[in-house]
Symmetry: C2
Subunit: 470 residues, 2 copies
C-alpha cells in the first residue's frame, strides 16, 4: 500500500511491514495507476503470499494481544555484543587456524566472496558434531537463509511444465511460496498423525505419474514439522528412503527445529544421516539456532549431475550457478557472525543452545499441561503433544478461518495461526497452530485463558447456527 509517511518505522513484532488498512485507497483514480496486478507474475496475487501478509497485519494491528502465532526464536538471550564477539572469533579463525595473511582476511570479510560460501567447513563440522552426518564441504551451498536454499533447489528442479513437487501436508508456507515463484505446482501428500503415510505418498506419486506429470521431489520436515509439530519415527525414515530409492524420487529434507528435542538423548537421526544413496537434499537454517537477523542457511546437495559436456559434478555446483544470479554470494559479514558462533562452541549448536532448549522444552510442557487443565476430558478440543520444536496443533469443533482470528485478536487478545493457511486449497480446517518459542510461561497462561474463552464462545456460536440441509 502507498504510505504518505516518510519517517523510518521500527521493525514490528513480526518484523514485516504490512498493509495499513486505514491507508488503503488513498490513491484510487484510474489515471494514477501505472500497472495492474494482473500484468505481474501470478505469484504476487497468490493466496499463499497474501496469507503471510494477512497474518503479519493482524499481529501488527493488535500489539497488545498475546502471540501464540509468532514462530521466531526466543530473544531474551540475544545480545548485540555477540555480533562483535563472533566477528572477531571468525577473523581470528581465518588468521590463526587457516593461516590467512591480513590481506586475505580483509578480502574474505569485505570483498565479493566464494559463491558457495566461506563457512562451509564449519557447517560440515557442525553436521558431524550435532548430527553424526559426514558431508563433503564442497557439497554445501551457504545461502541467504533457508528460504534462498529452497528457491535454488526448486528453481533447479523445475525444468518444464510437466514437473510437480510433492509435499507432506500441511506444508510450510515458505515452501509453497518459493514453488509459486518458479511456477512449480505443489501436490499435497497427507502426512497424518505419524508425520508420513507411505502408502499415501506412493499412491500420490503414482497418480501424478499416471497423469503424465513428473514429480521432481518430495518435501518433508521430519522433525517437529512446521506447522504440525509431528516427527517421523526411525522405522518410517528408513522406509521413506527405501521408497525414494525404489521410485527414483528425491527427498528435500528441511530441518530447522531438529536440535530442539525436549530430550536430547532421544533425538532420531536425520534422513540425510541415514541416506546412503544420495536421495536426500538437506536444507539447514541458522535462524533458530544462532540468529534470524544474520539470514544464513545452507543446502547440502551431494547428488551427482552429468553436465552437457559429459563431465559429472555436484548438484551443489549447479545450485551455485543459480545463486550467482540470485544473490551472488551470502553476506560475508553474516557468515562470519554465524561462523564465530559455531567456533565458540566447538561446532556444536546443541551446546550453544542449552539455555534456549531448556526454555522451549519448559514452554512446551507448560502449554500441554495448560491445555489439559483447560480442556479436561471428555472435550471436543484435542491437541498434539510434540516431543520438541516450536509448535503444537489444536483441533477445535469449528472451522478456524481468518474471521475467527480477527475476532480472537480484537475481542479476546490472543493470536494463533489458522491451520487453513498451511493447506493449498480453500477447504475449511477445524484446527489452529500454537507456537511456544517467543513467549514466557506467564504469557502462555494468559494466552490459553483467552483462547479457552474464544473456543467456548465460537463453539456455542457454531452449535447455534442452523446447518444447511444436505
Amino acid at each position: 500500500m502507498r504510505r504518505s509517511g516518510r519517517g523510518p518505522r521500527p521493525a514490528d513484532d513480526h518484523g514485516r511491514l504490512t498493509v495499513d488498512a486505514e491507508l488503503r485507497g488513498d490513491v484510487d483514480e484510474a489515471t494514477d495507476v501505472d500497472l495492474d496486478v494482473a500484468d505481474l507474475h501470478p505469484a504476487v496475487d497468490d493466496p499463499v503470499l497474501h496469507s503471510m501478509n494477512f497474518l503479519n497485519e493482524v499481529a501488527q494491528r493488535y500489539p497488545a494481544a498475546v502471540s501464540l502465532a509468532a514462530g521466531r526464536p526466543y530473544e531474551e538471550f540475544f545480545d548485540v555484543a555477540d555480533l562483535h564477539r563472533h566477528l572477531e572469533t571468525f577473523r581470528a579463525h581465518l588468521a590463526d587456524d587457516l593461516g590467512y595473511d591480513p590481506e586475505q582476511v580483509r578480502r574474505t570479510l569485505l570483498q565479493y566472496g566464494r559463491t558457495k560460501g566461506i563457512i562451509h567447513h564449519l557447517v560440515a563440522r557442525n553436521l558431524a558434531v550435532d548430527e553424526q552426518l559426514t558431508v563433503d564441504p564442497e557439497s554445501i551451498v551457504v545461502t541467504v537463509g533457508c528460504q534462498e536454499a529452497m528457491l535454488l533447489v526448486l528453481r533447479a528442479l523445475r525444468a518444464g511444465p510437466r514437473d510437480v513437487l510433492l509435499a507432506l501436508a500441511p506444508t510450510y508456507v515458505g515452501l509453497t511460496g518459493a514453488a509459486r515463484l518458479v511456477d512449480l505446482p505443489v501436490r499435497p501428500v497427507a502426512g497424518g498423525p505419524a508425520g508420513i503415510d507411505l502408502a499415501v505418498l506412493r499412491a500420490e506419486l503414482r497418480r501424478a505419474r499416471s497423469e503424465g506429470l513428473r514429480p521432481r521431489a518430495c518435501y518433508v520436515m521430519p522433525d517437529f514439522a512446521n506447522p504440525s509439530g509431528t516427527s517421523i519415527d526411525l522405522a518410517d525414515r528408513r522406509r521413506l528412503l527405501d521408497l525414494a530409492a525404489a521410485e527414483d524420487l528425491l527427498l528435500i529434507e528441511d530441518n530447522p527445529y531438529g536440535l530442539f528435542h525436549a530430550d536430547d538423548a532421544r533425538r532420531v537421526p536425520t534422513l540425510k544421516a541415514l541416506d546412503t544413496r544420495r536421495r536426500v537434499v538437506y536444507l539447514g537454517s541458522f535462524a533458530k539456532t544462532v540468529l534470524p537477523g544474520a539470514r544464513v542457511g545452507y543446502v547440502v546437495a551431494d547428488q551427482r549431475v552429468r553436465d552437457s559436456d559429459g563431465t559429472v559434478g555436484l548438484l551443489a555446483d549447479q545450485l551455485a550457478k543459480i545463486k550467482s544470479m540470485v544473490t551472488v554470494n551470502t553476506s560475508a559479514i553474516s557468515q562470519a557472525v554465524v561462523g564465530g558462533a559455531l567456533l565458540a562452541h566447538g561446532g556444536s549448536l546443541v551446546a550453544a543452545n542449552t539455555r534456549q532448549r531448556a526454555v522451549y522444552a519448559r514452554n512446551l510442557r507448560h502449554l500441554v499441561t495448560g491445555l489439559r487443565h483447560r480442556f479436561p476430558a471428555p472435550s471436543p478440543v484435542r491437541w498434539t503433544v510434540p516431543a520438541g520444536g516450536f509448535f503444537a496443533v489444536l483441533r477445535v469443533p469449528f472451522p478456524v478461518d481468518d474471521a475467527v482470528l480477527r475476532r480472537s485478536a480484537e475481542r479476546y487478545g490472543v493470536l494463533f495461526t489458522p491451520m487453513a493457511h498451511f493447506y493449498d486449497d480453500t477447504a475449511p480446517v477445524t484446527a489452529l497452530r500454537l507456537s511456544i518459542s517467543a513467549v514466557t510461561c506467564e504469557q502462555i497462561d494468559v494466552g490459553l485463558d483467552r483462547l479457552a474463552a474464544l473456543i467456548a464462545d465460537e463453539s456455542a456460536r457454531t452449535a447455534s447456527t442452523p446447518t444447511v440441509p444436505a
Copy 2:
C-alpha cells in the same frame, strides 16, 4: 565438479569457487550419476551462466597474471575494524536518533526483520544528498545486493510467455542471467557510441510488439555502463523518458558506478531524478561504494499498482511479497554496516569515497595515456575514453574469443574480458573490456605492455590466416 578435498579453501581473487579442470571426470560411471543437467532448469546449462564460471576459472588458474578483468572495487582502503565501527554507529542511531529502547535495538539487529529493510530512510537520505533525488522511503526495497533487486523486478514483470525484456547491448551478464532464471527473453537494443540510439530502441520496441510480444521494460545503465563504459547525455536521457512515456514502457535504471565520475562537477542527473511520470524503476548498489561483502543493494519502485481488490499500492510492496519468498529479508547485520557507513558521512557516499574516486580517476587517466602511448595513430586498435567508472573497451583487429583469453593468460600473463561475453549470441566480437578498479598504475603499465605484445602477435596470426573464400 566433485572435489575430494575437505579442507576449507580461501576465497580466490575473484571470490568464486570454480571448476578445477584437473579434477574433472574423477567420477564418470553411469551408475554414479543421480541427475542429468538436461533434467534441470535450462538456465543452469545456459552460456550466460557458464560464461561467469569460465572467466573465474581463468582468473583462478593464472593468479600471477595482471588482471584487467576484475570489476571489484579497490580494496586497499578496506579495514575489518570498519565493520565494528559501522555496526556501533548504526546501533547508536537506532537508540539516539530513532529513540529505540534496548529491546527494540536488539530486536531490530538480531531478529527477523522488515521485508523492505531497516535502512530505507538512510537510503532515501543518500539519494537526496548525492543524487538530488527525492523518494518516498516506502518505495524502497533493500535487497541482497543489486542482483536480488534485478531478480525481484524481472520476476514481477514476467507474467506470461509473451513477455520480453529490452536491454541496451552490450549488457551486464547479471541482468541476462537473472532474466534466464525467470524465463524472460532478453531482446538486445544496440546502444552505439552514445550509449543509446533512440531510433533503434523505438524500432526494436515496435518490432517486438508487431511480433505479438509484450516488452515489459528496457534495462539501461546510463552512467559508465558495464561493460561499455559509455554514458548517456542529458538530452538523450530526457528524450528516453519522453519515449518511455509515449510508448508506455518502463525503464530499469541500474546505477552502480554513477558516483565515480572523474570530475564530480560534471555529473549528470540520473534518469530517476528526471522522472516525473514514474517510468523508472531505479536499482542501486552499495557493493562499489561501501563494501561488496555486505551484499546490500536496493530498488526504488514507486510505480502505482492496482491490486485485485481494487486498492492501489506501490510496486515496491509487490516486490516485497516476492522477496519474502526469496530471502525473507536482507541481513540486518549487513544493513547495519551499510547504514553505519552512510551515517558516518552525513548520508553522502560521494564524500565517503573521496580517496577511492581519486584512485579510479587516476587509473582511468593512466590507462588511456598508456593506450595512446602503446598504440599511436594510425593504429587499428581503438578505445573508448569514459568520463568515469571502472571500464573501457578496446577494439582490436581480430575476434576476441575465449581461446584468445586463455592464450593471453598463459603466455602473456594478462587478463581481460572478451566483449563477446556481453552479447547474447555467438557472433564474433573484435573487442575486449579493460577494468581499472582493482589495480595500481604499475599493474596497468605491466598489463598494457603484455596486452600490446598479445595484440601484435594475434594481429599477425590473423593476418597470416587465409580467409575462406566467400
